[in-house]
């Protein structure tokens, strides 16, 4: 009877993966993590996969993930020649990088040349084996798994990912690229990357986290990244998602900010069949500010769900949020922007914007701002738009001799560029621009015009 229920919930294969992993890690992992894993897998087993009856998952149906039997990815970290990365969007940014192949660190593909010694950039698996105390105060302490089955699953199955630790007062000029590659073609695999980024006080760092599928395989990425930002530190985080068009991608970015810290995030979703991006930020010190940005550019039957949760826990914090979506063909999207202002978080200043451009009659977006304000001296605004290309603007451009296709492409590019221009790292902005030019029907003409 119990077995039947479990099968229906689809959690069984993951429970086996967990048991298998436990065997492999026997005697090789710190007891504190062992305990957390056990709690997390039990939570996952209790919660099961979310259904659309749950408010948080109302417009995103994860049944295809539940129904697919994924296997843990094999460990073959050196199974890819570096040349394979040439020409892939986001794969070949010229900056220090840690590369993970199907979730496992690949020393061969990684290069940290140019990084100062004051920043530690390592494989988490290595750190857990050699120096687990370094990560103990933070790993799994920020991304809550009690109510989130995917975070629970990731937590239970932590194996590898990146650890970045920037020491006090250090300014790291070069972006650090964390590159997650999937080579899944025929094999149906699941990976659960786990990243921890610790940024000490008065320091500064830029992280680029990208997920790229090399083949058109069906696979499942279930990633969690925790960023802990100490007082007066500055962090730029870019997440670029160009997974296979058949891939499932569930990601949680959990940010904890201390006093006077500043965080800017950018989430670009281009690939994947089913994607859920969660960005949760806790502004937990006075004078902290954060700026969340996102662009989703989807077509076919792609589905992208962006969930953001901004928690103003302390007074005098500012937050800005701008997400823009371009949906073509039968693509569907969700934007759910939640802002919580805790009691006492006075002088909160928060502004949220979500704009959507629907390029076809079949594309669909559900956008939902959600403000929960428990303080009385705050400024919170939100605005969401859903629209098509402005016919007036289109006509105006055409009366100047610009053909319809180019005019459309120019307007779509302009729409996207309002958020793309917020990218401070030239390497990333150029890559994204290039992608846009290749995506747009008259992109090469737009590129020439610009």
């Amino acid at each position: 009877m119990i077995e039947a229920t479990q099968t229906k919930k689809g959690t069984d294969p993951y429970l086996s993966s967990f048991a298998q992993l436990q065997k492999e890690l026997e005697g090789k992992q710190p007891p504190w993590l062992q305990q957390i894993r056990k709690a997390a897998i039990s939570r996952f087993s209790d919660l099961g996969f979310p259904t659309s009856r749950q408010e948080e998952w109302k417009y995103t149906e994860v049944a295809p993930i539940r129904r697919t039997l994924f296997r843990p990815a094999a460990y073959e970290p050196n199974g890819l020649p570096t040349e394979r990365l040439t020409g892939l969007t986001f794969a070949n940014l010229q900056c220090p990088r840690l590369v993970f192949l199907n979730g496992h660190y690949s020393a061969e593909l990684s290069s940290l040349k140019g990084l100062p010694e004051t920043v530690q950039v390592k494989s988490l698996a290595e750190v857990l084996e050699q120096n687990p105390d370094l990560v103990k105060p933070h790993l799994t302490q920020h991304a809550q798994y009690e109510d989130h089955p995917f975070v629970a699953l990731n937590t239970a199955l932590i194996q590898d990912g990146a650890l970045v630790h920037v020491s006090k007062g250090e300014v790291i000029q070069e972006p650090i690229h964390l590159l997650f590659l999937s080579t899944a073609a025929e094999e149906v695999v699941a990976v659960h990357p786990r990243n921890l980024i610790l940024v000490d006080s008065n320091s500064q760092v830029t992280i680029v986290e990208s997920y790229i599928g090399l083949h058109k395989g069906v696979y499942f990425t279930n990633s969690v990244t925790e960023i802990v930002v100490a007082e007066n530190a500055v962090v730029d985080h870019y997440k670029l998602h160009q997974e296979s068009r058949k891939a499932f991608h569930i990601d949680t970015l959990q940010v904890h900010q201390d006093r006077s810290s500043s965080v800017r995030t950018f989430n670009a979703t281009l690939g994947g069949e089913l994607t859920r991006n969660e960005v949760n930020v806790v502004l937990d010190g006075e004078g902290a500010e954060c700026n969340l940005n996102g662009l989703y550019l989807i077509s076919g039957t792609q589905h992208v769900d962006n969930h953001t949760r901004l928690e103003h826990a302390k007074p005098h914090c500012d937050s800005r949020e701008m997400y823009k979506g371009i949906l073509d063909e039968k693509a569907t999207g969700v934007f759910h922007g939640r802002i919580v202002v805790r009691p006492g978080a006075q002088k909160t200043d928060s502004k949220q914007t979500n704009n959507n451009l629907l390029l076809s009659d079949d594309a669909l977006i559900n956008t939902k701002p959600q403000l929960e304000i428990y303080a009385n001296d705050v400024k919170c605004t939100h605005g969401a738009t859903i629209g098509q290309l402005d016919p007036e603007a289109l006509f105006y451009l055409r009366t100047r001799g610009i053909d319809r296709t180019t005019a459309r492409s120019l307007l779509i590019y302009a729409f996207a560029s309002q958020v793309v221009n917020r990218i401070k790292v030239d390497l990333v902005r150029t890559e994204l621009d290039d992608y846009l030019f290749s995506w747009l029907p008259a992109g090469h003409l737009v590129r020439e015009a610009i």
Binding site: D390, P391, E392, A393, F395, Y396, L397, R398, T399, R400, G401, I402, D403, R404, T406, A407, L410, L411, Y413, A414, F415, S417, Q418, L445, E448, A449, I450
Partner: protein, 254 residues
């Protein structure tokens, strides 16, 4: 250059133009005047190719070709330019990019080489000077945050860069102070030539002091009810459009 014959146009099921006839020869400046709602802007937009109007009858021949069969961009490439009454704001598209794309589309059509960035910059600097435009406007998004006067001036700026064969000015003078008006007129006059024609749609006679027309037509309730020389504009200014209403009423009654 342009010949409009018995043009009937509907918008939202309502007949706006009810048989317009107009002939504009190369090198001529024609002014179309009339009260609000007489169909002036509709006529301008139909020539430029707005697709939301329904042409129920008549024809428009431009340089021997059926204009109504052509897409707006093709009309532009054949030398038609409309200075909009309400120029559209296009966030995210800079004036420079936009105008360079437009100019190159036109040059390509004419079999000329595309201008490179340097030559283009030199060209627009010269034209901006001519129109007394603030150089910062060019790097800003098209019309975004421009004042009413800046938008109108930007239309004329585009016109002098694109050098059309037939330019239609749709109430470009409305809302301009006298200095801005003189600048706009100077821009138009700098382009006047035996090969180029203008249709100046206006509500007021004032601009015609600076852009002297060869002919003035009065559009009223979707028809051209009176045509004459530049004196007609003065007469209208003096007597007002009610004079026409009385006349039309008298004509209908008789």
């Amino acid at each position: 250059m342009l010949e409009i014959k018995n043009l009937h146009v509907k918008a939202d099921g309502k007949e706006i133009l009810r048989g317009v006839d107009l002939k504009v020869n190369a090198g001529e400046v024609h002014s179309i005047m009339g009260p609000n709602g007489s169909g002036k802007s509709t006529l301008a937009q139909v020539i430029a190719g707005r697709e939301s109007y329904e042409i129920t009858d008549g024809e428009v021949i431009y340089q021997g070709k059926d204009l109504l069969e052509m897409a707006p961009e093709d009309r532009a490439r054949q030398g038609i330019f409309l200075a909009f009454q309400y120029p559209v704001e296009i966030p995210g598209v800079s004036n420079t990019y936009f105008l360079k794309a437009a100019l190159n589309a036109l040059r390509k059509e004419r079999g000329e080489e595309e201008v490179d960035a340097m030559d283009f910059l030199a060209l627009i600097k010269e034209k901006m000077k001519l129109l007394g435009m603030d150089e910062t406007l060019i790097s800003r998004p098209v019309n975004e945050g421009f004042s009413g006067g800046e938008k109108k001036r930007n239309e004329i700026f585009q016109m002098v860069v694109l050098e059309p064969k037939l330019a239609i000015l749709d109430e470009t003078d409305s809302g301009l102070d006298i200095d801005a008006l003189k600048i706009v007129a100077a821009g138009v006059n700098s382009l006047r030539s035996p090969e180029r024609s203008f249709i100046v749609v206006t509500h007021y006679q004032r601009m015609l002091n600076y852009i002297v027309p060869d002919a003035v037509h009065v559009l009223y309730e979707g028809r051209i009810v009176k045509s004459g020389g530049k004196e007609l504009a003065l007469e209208l200014e003096e007597k007002g459009y009610t004079w026409l209403e009385d006349k039309t009423a008298a004509a209908v009654n008789s």
